[in-house]
């Protein structure tokens, strides 16, 4: 039964990590943009959820609809006003998104102060043998699964997905075939932002919501995406599975500190052995 509990925890950890990185994976994987404001998009999603929930909106709507919508729109805005001018200039993008990240933290602090009333996890608990587990974790796992599947279907089976993939592979060719690359970039960035907003909304009931909360997730998120490699969905999924498992298992057997360090060390070694990430070597042709 303990094994079942640990297994459940591992699944939860993978799901949380996956939700965390899928948006970043889209933006980096498809557009090669290093968005240092990723943690703050997450934070905006959490704040959108919390603020609208306290304004009376149903919690599920706040988490699953308002958060991604808000951050997605914000992402579109950022793309149009900032990122658009910096394509091809990776360093400048980093600098700009770092500035954006600081500015967002400052803005949110100025408006809401350093703490904000949060929301509690709904749903309650259930039993795994003699142990308790959270039903909310089950919800998180379901959301992660549906999101990944939905994204997969979107990119594989729809025209939009085809256009996005084509533009990322060869923008000039796509343009020659009548696709406006600028629009595609905008849509992709917005979608990536929306996914991150969703993640922020989903973790809001189980985390400490504060303006600087993004910082605790950024390093882990980047390392997972880069470890996953070029294929957005497959890469992020595989990397999340691998890293999430290691983190949980090591933490359970030792301490949270070793869990974090083990994850990072493993990532370094893995990137050294597979410099293009997991999907640089395996599952190359996947999305």
């Amino acid at each position: 039964m303990l094994a079942a509990l640990i297994g459940f925890n591992v699944l939860t950890s993978i799901a949380e990590l996956l939700l965390l990185v899928i948006g970043l994976g889209m933006i980096y994987g498809l557009m090669r943009i290093i968005n240092l404001a990723h943690g703050e998009f997450l934070m905006l999603g959490a704040y959108a959820t919390v603020v609208s929930a306290h304004a009376g909106v149903n919690l599920w709507v706040a988490m699953l609809i308002i958060a991604p919508l808000f951050v997605g729109l914000f992402g579109l805005l950022v793309e149009r006003t900032l990122i658009r001018f910096l394509y091809g200039r990776m360093i400048d993008t980093m600098l700009a998104t770092w500035g954006l990240s600081l500015g967002l933290i400052g803005l949110v602090t100025s408006i809401f102060g350093t703490t904000v009333r949060g929301v509690s996890a709904p749903l309650g608990s259930f039993a795994i043998g003699p142990y308790n587990a959270s039903l909310y974790s089950v919800f998180t796992i379901i959301v992660a699964l549906l999101t990944v599947l939905g994204l997969f279907v979107l990119l594989r089976a729809t025209k939009f997905g085809l256009i996005v993939r084509a533009t990322m592979q060869n923008p000039e060719m796509a343009a020659a075939l009548g696709v406006p690359p600028g629009r595609v970039y905008m849509a992709t960035f917005g979608l990536g932002a929306a996914l991150t907003g969703l993640a922020g909304g989903v973790i809001a009931p189980v985390s400490g919501v504060a303006p600087g909360m993004g910082a605790a997730y950024v390093a882990r998120a980047f390392i997972t995406v880069l470890g996953g490699g070029a294929a957005t969905i497959t890469g992020s999924t595989l990397a999340s599975t691998l890293f999430g498992t290691i983190d949980q298992v090591v933490t359970f057997w030792t301490t949270p500190v070793f869990g974090q360090v083990a994850l990072l060390l493993f990532a370094v070694v893995m990137i050294r052995m597979l410099p293009q990430g997991i999907t640089g070597r395996f599952f190359r042709r996947s999305i």
């Binding site: 240092l36 900032l82 001018f85 910096l86 200039r89 990776m90 360093i91 400048d92 980093m94 600098l95 700009a96 770092w98 500035g99 954006l100 990240s101 600081l102 500015g103 967002l104 933290i105 400052g106 803005l107 602090t109 100025s110 910082a215 950024v218 390093a219 980047f222 390392i223 880069l226 500190v257 974090q260 360090v261 990072l264 060390l265 990532a267 370094v268 990137i271 050294r272 410099p275 293009q276």
Partner: protein, 338 residues
């Protein structure tokens, strides 16, 4: 180039020597901090602007230098060997890490990732050393609190003759000039030219018979040593060292110093470091606007308006005003690299 080098050197010496006459003790103490950041920026500017190595983890060597000095100074009681260790330990670590990365043919972007990960690992490790068991000799590592009351540098051989804050400034100033001159000199030798050649076109350099992996590793190691020296100066300035020296914020700050000052020059990073530090302090002393908000807006403005960095932009501006032909195009070649 040698004329401009001498002119810059002279200007630097004049400014550093003249500062004690116009600034009070507080000004000198602050200047010591700025100098430590400038040396750190130099290390990043050297390996990135000239070596083409995009390291996100210079703060790792900065921190290692700081901690090495702190631990050695507390345990040994005299500061000459700790100063040497502050340079040697990071150099060794950088050499090892460089070997791990460059001999594994890691691509440029991944150099950034790995160095970032390493500094995050060091941050986490340093943060977790709070228990009593974590001590090296007499020095408790202190975890998040860090190591307080670190003995300052003393006159070599006289452990009781510790440097006053003003004297520390003097030492820091001399070290800054020395590092700058050293790097400039290094870049003028054959070694330096090969390093730049590798940055410009690695395959061509290889075909000419130079092993890029070796040169990159050595460059990276030198950068690590200089960052370690900066860490030692920082620890002396504050009298303490804590895990934040390894943090993401510190790592990002170094990059911003170089980017704002101008990638591809040596003076640019120095100026960038001073300017950004000054800005951060100035923002903190006012209460009206949130500090992060202002810093974020400033960064955004810089990227959109002065993307090349201050120094090259000023250079371009000066050209346009004087209507002279453009100087050595070395900086421009760096701009296009990812």
């Amino acid at each position: 180039m040698s004329r401009s080098f001498l002119a810059t050197l002279a200007l630097m010496i004049v400014v550093l020597a003249g500062l004690p006459m116009i600034a009070g003790l507080f000004g000198l103490v602050q200047a010591t901090l700025f100098i430590s950041m400038a040396v750190l920026a130099l290390s990043q500017g050297f390996i990135w602007g000239y070596g083409g190595i995009m390291s996100f983890g210079q703060s790792a060597f900065f921190g290692l230098g700081g901690y090495a000095y702190a631990i050695a100074a507390i345990d040994l009681g005299e500061s000459t060997l700790p100063l040497a260790l502050a340079i040697l330990v990071p150099t060794l670590f950088a050499a090892l890490l460089g070997y791990f990365m460059f001999y594994g043919r890691i691509s440029d972007a991944y150099v950034g990732v790995i160095t970032l990960t390493v500094t995050v690992i060091l941050f986490n490790v340093a943060n977790s050393t709070a228990g009593d068991a974590w001590r090296i000799g007499q020095a408790a590592l202190g975890g998040f609190n860090g190591i307080p009351s670190v003995p300052p540098l003393n006159v070599p051989g006289q452990p009781d003759n510790q440097l006053s804050p003003a004297a520390l400034y003097g030492v820091a100033a001399v070290l800054l000039v020395m590092v700058y001159a050293l790097l400039r000199g290094l870049l003028a030798t054959k070694f330096g030219r090969v390093v730049v050649a590798i940055r410009e076109n690695e395959t061509r350099a290889m075909l000419l018979g130079y092993d890029p992996r070796l040169y990159k590793t050595i460059t990276f190691a030198i950068g690590g040593g200089i960052a370690g020296l900066a860490g030692c100066l920082f620890t002396n300035w504050g009298g303490f060292v804590s895990p934040t020296v390894f943090g993401l914020q510190q790592a990002a700050q170094v990059i911003i110093f170089v980017l704002l000052g101008g990638l591809g020059t040596l003076i640019g990073p120095i100026l960038g470091a001073v300017a950004v530090q000054y800005l951060i302090i100035a923002i903190g002393t006012q209460q009206t606007f949130n500090a992060n908000l202002i810093l974020g807006i400033v960064l955004l403005a810089f990227v959109l308006l002065i993307p090349r960095g201050v120094l090259p932009s000023l250079g371009l501006l000066a050209e346009r005003i004087a209507a002279r032909p453009a100087p050595d195009p070395a900086p421009a070649a760096v701009e296009a690299r990812p």
